[in-house]
Symmetry: C2
Subunit: 252 residues, 2 copies
């Protein structure tokens, strides 16, 4: 039985609200689909730098649309996203490096599953993307971890571990692995020229190289999906059924 | 009964392959959902210019991903998309202005429905995005229209009409209407600053202002959806059920 389970790796960073949507949906489906979900905390700042992604021009209609889109998705997915009052400070001045190192440390120490990784990640998202609270200070990480059920002594050890070279390197490696997951087959390189022009002035659906990133291992091949809007295709890819963002409710 | 039908306007241009996906899905659902689908042929070139959308930087991973993404979507949606050999020439040197004026002319003359608009649009997509054929010359437009079931004399009249000021203005108006459909509520303006920075380095799902664009009229409010990946949300918005890209097959 175990050999038929499809492995899905989910790369994410708690600084990204769209990652939160992807994370909650995949955590719900891990008990519904015959999959082995591997949570892959990584560092989005490193992804953006490593992929050479550039800021898009300032297009007012686009930003207006994204606001509405995120709000609608959060409601539909039932994830309590509420932007921080000063998102620039929260995301770029403060950032998520210490938080993601802490999650990596939790993952390094956890045995027999990833419940702690899941719950600590969720508590961190709750802080930055729902309650407008800090996620950079040791006291903030500690509070999130305690809420997730870890003991004070565990937290103390994890805080120490999270600043070690071992954990810094681990997060770097995970981030690099996400960067190295390019798309499926080899013949696509011939289309680079084509898609350059496609993005220049055609359409509308431009996926920056970012998070969340789901890597589905199917028949020895890695299929890569970006964003929080390809679940139906992911289901199709792994031979499962998409039942909307709340599969438990769908089953009732 | 008629008053309970939700109106969905679908703005599209045959130069855009993602528009084709959206068009086919909405044409399938017009017989499944209690909707009044209004096809809105428009000119994407005018949208890109009018919205101030800028070309993104050249990010190789992004282009690789888009290639795979479009290929997977086309297969899953069962729309026979196959990129032209020289997409740059097809899309930018030749473009779709005469084709979309022709579709606007077909719409201007059609009475009692939009079957001709639907079929002519589909035949034009088949030419540019499946068979690598021209869509700029009168002979090309004529061939597409004849395949869609129009007579030679009808086509002749439409070709003449398509270069008239009346039709040029009609296409301009439709394009401007698409541009004027910004997003729902008013309070979102406060988030412009926020989303500017969000797109600067966060995430992953950047919607250029482009096509397809679906405008759902619900309870006196216009809800705007870009792209070919929000059908599930559209269904939710209008109180209908999403059954995948092939609802007829789903019903069997």
């Amino acid at each position: 039985m175990a050999s038929s389970r499809k492995v899905i790796e989910l790369f994410y960073d708690v600084v990204s609200p769209y990652s939160w949507l992807g994370f909650e949906v995949m955590c719900r489906y891990r008990n519904v689909w015959n999959i082995d979900l591997k949570l892959r905390p990584a560092f989005l700042g490193g992804i953006m730098q490593g992929s050479g992604n550039k800021p898009p021009g300032q297009v007012p209609n686009k930003f207006l649309y994204m606001t509405t889109d995120l709000h609608r998705l959060a409601q539909y997915f039932q994830v309590p996203i509420s932007p921080p009052a000063d998102p620039f400070e929260a995301m770029f001045e403060k950032g998520s490096l210490s938080a993601m190192r802490f999650v990596a440390a939790v993952q390094e120490r956890e045995v027999g599953g990833d419940k702690q990784v899941e719950q600590v990640s969720r508590e961190l998202w709750m802080r930055i993307w729902s309650q407008d609270k800090d996620i950079t200070q040791p006291a903030s990480l500690s509070e999130a971890a305690m809420k997730a059920g870890l003991s004070a002594s565990e937290v103390e050890e994890l805080l120490k571990l999270s600043t070690s070279k071992e954990i810094k390197d681990k997060l770097k490696r995970s981030t690099q692995e996400a960067l190295d997951h390019r798309c499926g087959s080899g013949h696509q390189y011939q289309y680079i020229h084509f898609f350059h022009y496609l993005t220049l002035s055609l359409y509308s659906f431009i996926q920056a190289f970012g998070f969340p990133l789901a890597v589905c291992h199917v028949n020895g091949k890695a299929e890569v999906f970006f964003g929080s809007d390809r679940f139906e295709l992911i289901a199709h890819c792994i031979g499962e059924k998409w039942m909307g963002p709340q599969p438990a409710a769908a089953k009732l």
